[in-house]
């Protein structure tokens, strides 16, 4: 029975991926891409990875999907959506087919000749768990055993926003996205937003011993922010520019500060003091959740803001 589900998912995922790529309509491609994310989330559950399932649904399908859809809306507004693109040439098609089949062939060869791994890290993880300060192994890996990776990864997120900001002009760029004056939407929001905030906090709290954690919680928070943003309640106009920047950097800053504080005690970077690991991890996660929410929101709004001074007129011309 389970195998049947697996095979259905396998075929479904590949079929959706193919449709997503060859569909003539770009809008349909994006919708299929989001659908693919949801199918993958089920797949992750089957693989015994509920954490990834949550992240895939919230970040992979959710946030990426919203970003893509928003870009489509923008293209439509500027009349670039159904720009009939010339079909790529035959040479390109042959090159693409040959390289893709080579890749698949190589990978299949590699997969079916898998040796038995000589090292089993999961045994080491089980052994070290009591010292990690949390009882959920994935949180322990992310914020203790391999916290250095996570630190750099948050750096990548900050950097993405930074590049976006560097491409913007310095005058407070006003948003090209009008609020939707829909009373029904506002009524729904008053119910939805508190629920989303509670879910976000729950996810954060759960991360200590169950699937969940800062990234999923942050994505949920971002979803709430983006909903508010679309409905016309702009967070960026409520708080000052500098406050916003501080919020973006809070998570990274707190993480880095905690990491460095261990150096003063003469211990390696990122070491938690004995007995304090649990509290510090929660502190870092709390700051990360807020920052990730704001970062994902900023990535959404940066993409939305009007272009450079040069052609500011063009965008509002119609």
């Amino acid at each position: 029975m389970n195998l049947l589900i697996d095979f259905t998912l396998l075929i479904g995922i590949l079929a959706i991926a193919l449709t997503c790529l060859i569909s003539r309509s770009l809008f349909r491609s994006v919708v299929f891409f989001i659908l693919l994310g949801l199918m993958l989330a089920i797949g992750w559950i089957r693989l015994g990875a509920p954490d990834i399932a949550l992240a895939e649904a919230a970040i992979g399908a959710g946030i990426t999907g919203v970003l893509l859809l928003d870009t489509l809306g923008h293209l439509k507004k500027t009349g670039n959506l159904e720009n009939d693109e010339p079909a790529p040439g035959r040479k390109r098609l042959i090159l693409a087919i040959v390289s893709s089949f080579t890749l698949v062939g190589l990978l299949l060869w590699a997969v079916f000749n898998q040796p038995t791994p000589a090292i089993n890290i999961h045994l080491l993880v089980t052994e070290a768990m009591p010292e990690s300060g949390v009882s959920h192994p994935i949180t322990a890996v992310l914020l203790n055993f391999r916290s250095y990776d996570t630190l750099l990864e948050v750096g990548v997120l900050v950097l993405a926003v930074l590049v976006g900001l560097a491409l913007q002009t310095d005058q407070q760029a006003q948003d090209s996205l009008p609020g939707l004056p829909n009373p029904l939407l506002h009524a729904c929001l008053t119910l939805l937003i508190p629920a989303m905030l509670i879910t976000s906090m729950y996810l954060l709290w759960a991360g200590a011993d169950r699937p969940g954690g800062a990234f999923q919680a942050g994505a949920m928070l971002a979803a709430a922010f983006i909903l508010l943003h679309i409905s016309g309640i702009k967070l960026s106009s409520q708080v000052s520019h500098r406050m916003m920047q501080a919020g973006l950097l809070l998570g990274f800053g707190v993480f880095l500060a905690v990491a460095t504080s261990s150096l003063i005690g003469g211990r390696p970077l990122l070491t938690y003091p004995e007995g304090g690991a649990g509290m510090l991890i929660l502190l870092i996660e709390l700051a990360l959740t807020l920052s990730i929410g704001l970062i994902l929101l900023s990535l959404f709004t940066i993409a939305n803001s009007p272009p450079h001074h040069k052609d500011q007129g063009g965008d509002h011309g119609h």
Binding site: V30, I52, H122, D311, G314
Partner: protein
Amino acid sequence: MDTNLIFTLCGVGLCGIGFFGFIYHRHLLRRLIAFNLIGNGTFLIMVGFAQRGQGVTDHVIQALVLTGIVVAVAATALGLVLIRRWFQLKGSTQLPEDDAS
């Protein structure tokens, strides 16, 4: 055939499809979607292949995939920021073809 192998194969398929799209298409948005397909395929291979070898649920690789997903969304967002600027400047959804390289 166990679940891990099936999803590893699913990942291989996704990588293949995504790689095809990345090379074939010239539309920047379509190529970004194709990149995300390769990414998703890679993540499936990471977990499925590792767990197939270890025979148990592997939390280390799952944590790495979480990192990977976040990096991928950051990459997508950065790509979209650049692409939109390009649309605004040139009104085109693809890069000019290389003449000489």
